[in-house]
Assembly symmetry: C2
Homo-oligomer: 372 residues x 2
């Protein structure tokens, strides 16, 4: 067991890159590999903090861009930070806002100084520098802050990728300097597009600056799955062993398994929550599209192997009825199930790594999916 800063590495798989560890924060220590439910606007959509606790969520993600625009980081600071504002006493990671600003496309303009953009709510002109991004996240009081990065469209040529990645490096240096409250951890974000050698070069540059943890950004942006896995596989070993590694915005249950296999410790994605509201539910035997007529009289729980509140108490037929009727309870029950599925999958992987049986777990996982 070795330790360096907030991350403690408990053990590593003998078969692959999978690692079992933990990250210490101001709001408790979370076990890795971990999945972080996304709480964009100061709430994980359709569930309460108590629901999150019951399903075993240890850390959630907040979106700096959204909170900056509404209700504003200054207001949240007055309430003692995001934890108190939203009544969540577990850990919180905030993104930097960079990804959302890039998603605004023509509403955003990137310069050396920072990102100028227009609010998607009222069109007002706003600006976020790397220093602002840190200051806003300090006001939000998150446990883990992310550097402001630039995102590279896919596909992008080598020249464009280098320019964008070098700007991210300069911004990372500025974020590091602006980082005053060392109780809040600051993570760097590795970019470099789909060029493994640019990724490796960027990983070295960020490591030289030195962060509390490292993220891999700019993936899951439209590239083929295999390319994403290859980049993760190339970058992870380039990152310091005794720091946590976070694969941003990824992904499907299969992506989580493949990420852990390649040495990733942290994940976030809107997929379980968004799919829940769209009626697509994850189960140990594959996806269930709950509006399907085949579930009309189905008295079984969504997933016979699941122990969540939804599966303990409701039938597929009832969940279908709620979804067809557009009842708010549908979104609530579906979200509880999908998040529980993701969190439980991570718990299974953590146990498998401890027992050094990760590849057997992975085989079982795929075997059950194909069994349906």
């Amino acid at each position: 067991m070795a330790r360096s800063g907030p991350f403690t590495l408990h053990c590593t798989s003998s078969e692959c890159g999978a690692r079992r560890g933990e990250v210490k924060t101001r709001h408790g220590t979370f076990q890795t590999p971990v999945f972080m439910p996304v709480g964009t606007q100061g709430t994980v959509k359709a569930v309460t903090p108590e629901n999150l606790k019951e399903m075993g969520a240890q850390i959630i993600l907040g979106n700096t861009y959204h909170l900056f625009i509404r209700p504003g980081h200054e207001l949240i600071k007055k309430f003692g930070g995001l934890h108190q504002f939203m009544n969540w006493d577990g850990a919180i990671l905030t993104d930097s806002g960079g990804f959302q600003i890039f998603s605004l496309k023509e509403l955003a303009k990137i310069t050396e100084e920072g990102a100028a953009f227009r609010s998607h709510l009222d069109g007002s002109r706003l600006f976020l520098s790397p220093e602002d991004a840190v200051m806003v996240q300090e006001a939000l009081g998150s446990d883990i802050m992310m550097c402001l990065d630039t995102c590279i469209p896919h596909p992008a040529d080598r020249k464009q990728t280098i320019e964008s990645t070098d700007l991210t490096t300069r911004w990372a240096e500025r974020c590091r300097k602006a980082h005053r409250n060392r109780d809040q951890l600051l993570f760097g974000i590795v970019q470099g597009g789909m060029y493994p050698e640019l990724r490796e070069r960027h990983a070295r540059q960020l490591t030289e600056i030195g962060f509390d943890g490292y993220a891999i950004g700019g993936l899951s942006v439209g590239e083929p799955k295999e390319m994403m896995y290859d980049i993760a596989e190339a970058v992870a070993p380039q990152l310091p062993e005794h720091h946590s590694r976070y694969l941003m915005g990824v992904g499907t249950p299969e992506d989580l398994v493949e990420g852990v296999r390649r040495g990733i410790d942290m994940f976030d994605c809107v997929m379980p929550t968004r799919n829940a509201r769209n009626g697509t539910l994850f189960t140990s035997t594959g996806k269930v599209v709950i509006k399907n007529a085949r579930y009309r009289e189905d008295q079984r729980p969504l997933d016979e192997r699941c122990n969540c509140y939804t599966c303990r108490n409701y039938s597929r037929a009832y969940l279908r009825h709620l979804f067809q009727s557009r009842e708010i309870l549908s979104y609530h029950l579906n979200t509880i199930h999908n998040l529980h599925y993701y969190i439980n999958l991570m718990e299974g992987m953590r146990q498998a790594i401890e027992q050094d049986s990760f590849m057997a777990f992975r085989k079982d996982f795929y075997g059950r999916l194909e069994g349906e």
Copy 2:
């Protein structure tokens, strides 16, 4: 203490018509006066059965019309009834479908035989006779069933009111005959429009047929408040003392207080749940329209006197943020608060009647409302 069938009368106010009692059902005994949250489509919108239990709900209402159309009473019967389908083990009252069918207006046609109507979902032609209404409610397995009644538009002339009320009497007789499962209680519905003497006549007719309880229908249909109170005051004493009295579809907190004062035991209304979703919240000092800018930085709970989950854990500013952001959690937290307010108000009235201090409670209630 006198008893007659399912209703037990504990005590009566010495100052007014207010009564304290209880109603025994297959799913527990509920204390009266009681407010019944409305669960139209097999769920009280935006809350779980556990939330309802925590706030002290004893009995909820299900809408026969909606469940008949979707998912269908036969499907619910296969699941062992509505209680099991929706995972609620407290008492359930189902309406007859009559009020909803009348609300369809040109989509409905009333004959001696019953109500022909078109589904609001797909326009399909449907028919509900008094016997069907009982059969459907038996399939749903509710604890209290309502007779199919005809609703009188407001205003309506005397002739039209007599014709419609007499048809309701004939339908009530047919419902009584069709009522086989005596474990499920059957209530009659007093109509008679805004004519006190027709109301009294109808109350006598229904009492002669004999039901497990009596409802006052056809109020809160656009008439002035005072007229509604006058009708309730005229009808209540005409109903058998040792049977429960239910004022259908009423109303505001003030209406509940005025109804109890006049001897009403049971109430239902969509107001607390619908207003919650519209951001209008009931508090001991009056209504709070949560989107109002004055609550932007308000760190206080919605109601300092409220002990509900929402008030224990969240600020007005956070509730405003959720509402402005159209977050599902907004509907959930607002609904919990509004229903808790209604249920707690009834609990306060029950205690006041026990202590024979109902009129002092009423004075306090209005005093606080005006204090804001």
